[in-house]
């Protein structure tokens, strides 16, 4: 009987468990996580603070998940190292866990740039997991002046989550615009204006030069007083378990289309691993929940010896909203473009070599998945009605035959 071990307990780990169990109902699975919690949805921590979910509803799978799937959860325990020769995981407690097949889904950790005076700040938080969110929540008061360093997805979701429970929120970022990883300049401006209307203050193209216990001096010379500091500059993949065991690591853990690392019988998935981005043809870390789940599932099926499909359709994609304004983006922003803007509705499509490469939708995001599918499937644009697809995502743009297959053929 194959013994499976998974380091990590979030989306990639759950995908792996569900992948293994599609093939092998018997082999015991051990899940090791340094977090002492039942599997929960990491991206929901901002919704938790906002009050849109709670500890029970944010569980990523039901309370019986481990039992139902024959999983032994070792929660609150940290993997110190992997011995790929002896096929053993060594925990920081000294315990040794043997495995036949291992998935490393160790996630990422916040990156904290060294800044003068940072040790003088007592109320400093990150915003990555449940415990960090609960710690931040403890410190919040209606009088709090919050400084968030980082105007990316994590920093701004944090801002939205706590906005109604604090006095002021100031956001500082080195980039010249907010959400630079997913938005273009005009899109960033539109979302920034919306966030400013909700009370946020931004200092862009700027950074903290020096911290005092209750204020930050920015590079521009401005002084921002604060009571609570949230560091959301960026994340780094947790690759050391693989690297220390001699596995290949670049930006993230190097994996193939079945999520195998260079170490025998060791797989990697989720935010610690690289994927092949079909829109750029490059290996990169795509730290996105759907990507993590699908990598984990692919790994699980392969670990259990199943005839799984390779994971070869990865693309960057994000659905995110702030105070009711929704944003959906996917792919890469290269090639020719179509641009439409009206009030708080913004659409930009990018195409090259007869393929849709990427898009940005703000405001009206209805049926965006039709665009995502064109990118993922690399559908030739010459095979569809380009004007209709530019107007809005619709199946009417496809040929009668393609439509018949989609809507009356066997389900895929």
């Amino acid at each position: 009987m194959t013994r499976y071990a998974i380091i990590g307990n979030s989306a990639a780990a759950v995908g792996c468990v569900e992948g293994i169990r599609q093939v092998d109902r018997q082999g015991p699975i051990t899940v090791i996580s340094d977090e002492p919690h039942h599997t929960y949805s990491r991206p929901l921590i901002s919704y938790l603070l906002e009050g849109k979910t709670d500890r029970v509803r944010m569980q990523y799978r039901g309370a019986d998940f481990y039992e139902k799937n024959g999983v032994t959860p070792l929660l609150g325990k940290r993997a110190a190292s992997i011995d790929p020769e002896k096929k053993t995981i060594i925990l920081t407690s000294g315990e040794k866990i043997p495995y036949d097949k291992l998935l490393v889904a160790a996630g990422s950790r916040p990156f904290l740039p060294p800044t003068e005076g940072q040790e003088t700040v007592t109320k400093v938080f990150t915003f990555m997991n449940l415990d960090s969110a609960l710690a931040l929540e403890q410190a919040l008061t209606p009088e709090s002046r919050v400084l968030i360093v980082g105007a990316g997805l994590i920093g701004l979701k944090c801002a939205e989550g706590i906005a109604h429970r604090v006095n002021t929120i100031t956001v500082v970022d080195m980039a010249d615009r907010i959400l630079p990883s997913i938005l273009d300049e005009a899109g960033s401006k539109l979302v920034q204006t919306h966030l400013e209307e909700k009370g946020l203050t931004f200092h862009l193209s700027d950074c903290v030069a020096k911290f005092e216990p209750d204020a930050a001096t920015l590079k521009s010379g401005q002084r921002v007083p604060f009571d609570i500091l949230v560091m959301a500059v960026g994340v780094r993949p947790n690759t050391s378990l693989i690297a220390d065991a001699g596995g290949q690591v670049r930006r993230g853990v190097v994996t193939d289309e079945f999520c195998r690392t260079s170490l025998p019988d060791v797989y990697a998935a989720g935010d610690c691993a690289q994927s092949f981005d079909i829109t750029t043809g490059q290996e990169r870390v795509l730290a996105l929940l759907p990507n993590a789940y699908m990598q984990g599932e692919t790994a699980g099926i392969h670990m259990a010896g199943g005839e799984g499909k390779p994971y070869d359709r990865a693309i960057p994609m994000n659905a995110i909203g702030f105070f009711g304004l929704h944003i959906i983006t996917a792919g890469s922003y290269q090639g020719e473009e179509v641009l439409m803007q009206k009030g708080n509705t913004y659409k930009r499509l990018f195409y090259q070599d007869d393929r849709l490469k990427g898009y940005i939708l703000i405001g009206n995001v209805e049926r965006a998945g039709i665009y995502t599918s064109l990118i993922r499937e690399q559908t030739p644009l010459s095979s569809i009605d380009f004007d209709l697809i530019c107007e809005k995502p619709q199946l009417m743009a496809f040929s009668k035959r393609a439509r018949a297959k989609a809507l009356s053929g066997a389900a895929g």
Partner: protein, 146 residues
């Protein structure tokens, strides 16, 4: 399993499927009361262009990108039917980003909504199929992609 299939050749573009869907999911007993002076949010939608029209609703895919990508675990497969737990859904719209058919949509409540083949309302069988006057929407077994 039985799924909803549409044949655009027979679709009249009458939108009755949308009204039957909205009524079935309204929780009301009286159709006039449920739909009169109400902006409906059906889970099946007609696309129309010139003399071509057809209905689109969830295909209940065997490899559902919406379920795999759901960040909260609100979307699950229950006996082949892709089901939404609106208590768990936070309305992040990752499923709208993922669905190749554009069959998942926002609702009034903040959660998303989608066709659940009328398994959760008193109809029990898809109301759009029953209400289609020209049999352009059918509910039947057509095999699965292996």
């Amino acid at each position: 399993m039985k799924r909803i299939y549409v044949n655009e050749k027979w679709c009249l573009g009458c939108h009755l499927c949308e009204y039957y869907c909205a009524f079935a999911n309204s929780g009301e007993d009286n159709m006039a009361k449920a739909l009169k002076d109400v902006v409906i949010h059906p889970r099946i939608r007609i696309e129309q262009q010139g003399n071509v029209s057809f209905a689109v609703s969830c295909r209940h895919c065997q490899e559902p990108l919406c379920v795999k990508g759901c960040i909260s675990g609100a979307l699950t497969v229950q006996n082949g039917v892709i089901s939404i737990d609106s208590e768990k859904c936070v309305g992040c719209y990752t499923c709208i980003l993922s669905c190749p058919y554009g069959a998942i949509m926002p609702s009034d409540t903040g959660a998303v909504q989608k066709c659940e083949l009328c398994t959760k309302n008193k109809e029990g069988q898809p109301a759009c199929v029953k209400g289609c006057p020209n049999k352009a929407i059918v509910f039947e077994e057509r095999g699965e992609v292996q």
